[in-house]
C-alpha cells in the first residue's frame, strides 16, 4: 500500500520519462535552423560548377538539410557568393544582401569572393567582406565539393552555437 503513495513530483517525472528533453531556446532554434537552410546562390564565375557539383546527387548537399536553392532573397537564409565580384556588380550584391530576410548568413565561396583571387586589377572587388559581412570563407580556386561541404558544416556549427533573435 505504501508503494502507491507517491509525491506529485515523482509522478510527473515518471509519466514524462523519455518524452521530454530540457535545453536552451537558442540551442533548439539553432538546431532547427541549421538543418533547414534555404540558399541563394549568387553565382558569377567558374566556382559555380563546383557549387552545382556539390548540390547535385553525387555529393548531395541535401544530406545536410541545405538542398533548396531559392532564387529570391526573400525566401533565402544563406547567400552563397560564388565567384568573382566586379565593382560593377557589387551594388547588386549589396542589394541582394539587404533584401534577404533575417536570420541570414553569407558564405564566401572560393578565392575570388574571399579576397579577389588572382585578379588584382581595376575591375575586381578585393573580397566581398569589404561590402557585406561574411560568416564562412571557403578556400580554393575553385574549392572541391568536399571543401564546400566542410564549409557548410562550419556554417552549421556557427548557427548551432550562436545567439538567435526570437
Amino acid at each position: 500500500m505504501s508503494e502507491l503513495i507517491q509525491s506529485p513530483m515523482m509522478d510527473m517525472s515518471r509519466s514524462l520519462s523519455g518524452q521530454v528533453v530540457t535545453t536552451k531556446f537558442d540551442k533548439i532554434l539553432g538546431w532547427a535552423r541549421k538543418y533547414s537552410l534555404f540558399q541563394y546562390p549568387f553565382v558569377t564565375a567558374c566556382c559555380g560548377m563546383e557549387y552545382m557539383a556539390t548540390a547535385c546527387s553525387h555529393y548531395d548537399i541535401d544530406r545536410f538539410g541545405a538542398a533548396f536553392a531559392r532564387f529570391s532573397p526573400r525566401q533565402a537564409d544563406v547567400i552563397w557568393v560564388v565567384g568573382t565580384i566586379s565593382h560593377k556588380i557589387a551594388p547588386v550584391l549589396k542589394t541582394i544582401y539587404d533584401q534577404t530576410a533575417d536570420p541570414k548568413w553569407v558564405v564566401s565561396f572560393g578565392a575570388c569572393a574571399s579576397c579577389g583571387g588572382p585578379y588584382d586589377n581595376y575591375a575586381t572587388v578585393q573580397g566581398i567582406d569589404t561590402i557585406i559581412p561574411v560568416d564562412v570563407y571557403i578556400a580554393g580556386c575553385p574549392p572541391r565539393p568536399e571543401a564546400v561541404l566542410d564549409g557548410l558544416l562550419k556554417l552549421q556549427d556557427l548557427i548551432q552555437n550562436q545567439k538567435h533573435d526570437w
Binding site: 565593382h87 560593377k88 581595376y122
Partner: protein, 158 residues
C-alpha cells in the same frame, strides 16, 4: 615572302593605303593608313569574300609612337582564309572611322575598344562604354592606367 593577292589589289586601287605588311608565322598582316580604312575593308569584303569580322581590338604600345594600334581580324568563311589588318593611331585624340556599316558586329567591338583604350570610332551612333560603368574615369587597358587603381561604386575606396 611575296606580296599576297589582297595586298596587290589594294595597291592597285588605293596606292597609298598599305603602309607595311608581313606574313610572319603564316599570319598575313597589312598595316593600313587609317584614313582609308573603310575603303580597304570594303574591298576586302566585296572582292575577297572576307565575310566575317572575327575580332576587332586595340593595343597600347606606350611609349612607342604612334602609340595605339587597332587590329581587325577577318575570316573568309568559305575558303577559311584569314587576314589581319592593323591601323596605327597617334596618342592625342585617337580616332578612326567606324565599320558598322560593313560589319554590324563591329558595334560592340568598337564600344569595347572605346571602353578599354579610349579610341573613338567616327560614325558610331552609340559610342558609350560596353563593359564598365558610366561613372568610370579613364580607360583601364591603357598602359598608363595605374595597375591597382580602383573606382568602386560602393565600399571602401582602394
Amino acid at each position: 615572302m611575296s606580296k599576297f593577292p589582297e595586298h596587290i589589289a589594294i595597291e592597285k586601287s588605293h596606292p597609298t593605303a598599305v603602309l607595311d605588311w608581313h606574313d610572319r608565322f603564316g599570319d598575313r598582316t597589312l598595316i593600313v593608313d587609317g584614313k582609308q580604312i573603310v575603303d580597304v575593308i570594303t574591298l576586302l569584303r566585296d572582292s575577297f569574300g572576307y565575310n566575317m569580322l572575327v575580332d576587332l581590338t586595340a593595343v597600347d604600345y606606350f611609349p612607342r609612337r604612334p602609340r595605339f594600334e587597332v587590329v581587325y581580324h577577318f575570316l573568309n568563311v568559305d575558303s577559311h582564309a584569314r587576314l589581319r589588318v592593323k591601323v596605327q593611331l597617334e596618342e592625342s585624340h585617337p580616332h578612326i572611322a567606324s565599320i558598322i556599316s560593313l560589319y554590324p558586329i563591329a558595334d560592340w567591338l568598337e564600344r569595347e575598344a572605346w571602353d578599354m583604350f579610349g579610341i573613338k570610332f567616327d560614325g558610331h551612333t552609340n559610342m558609350k562604354r560596353l563593359l564598365l560603368y558610366e561613372s568610370f574615369e579613364g580607360h583601364p587597358l591603357r598602359k598608363d592606367y595605374p595597375k591597382t587603381k580602383r573606382q568602386p561604386l560602393i565600399g571602401p575606396q582602394n
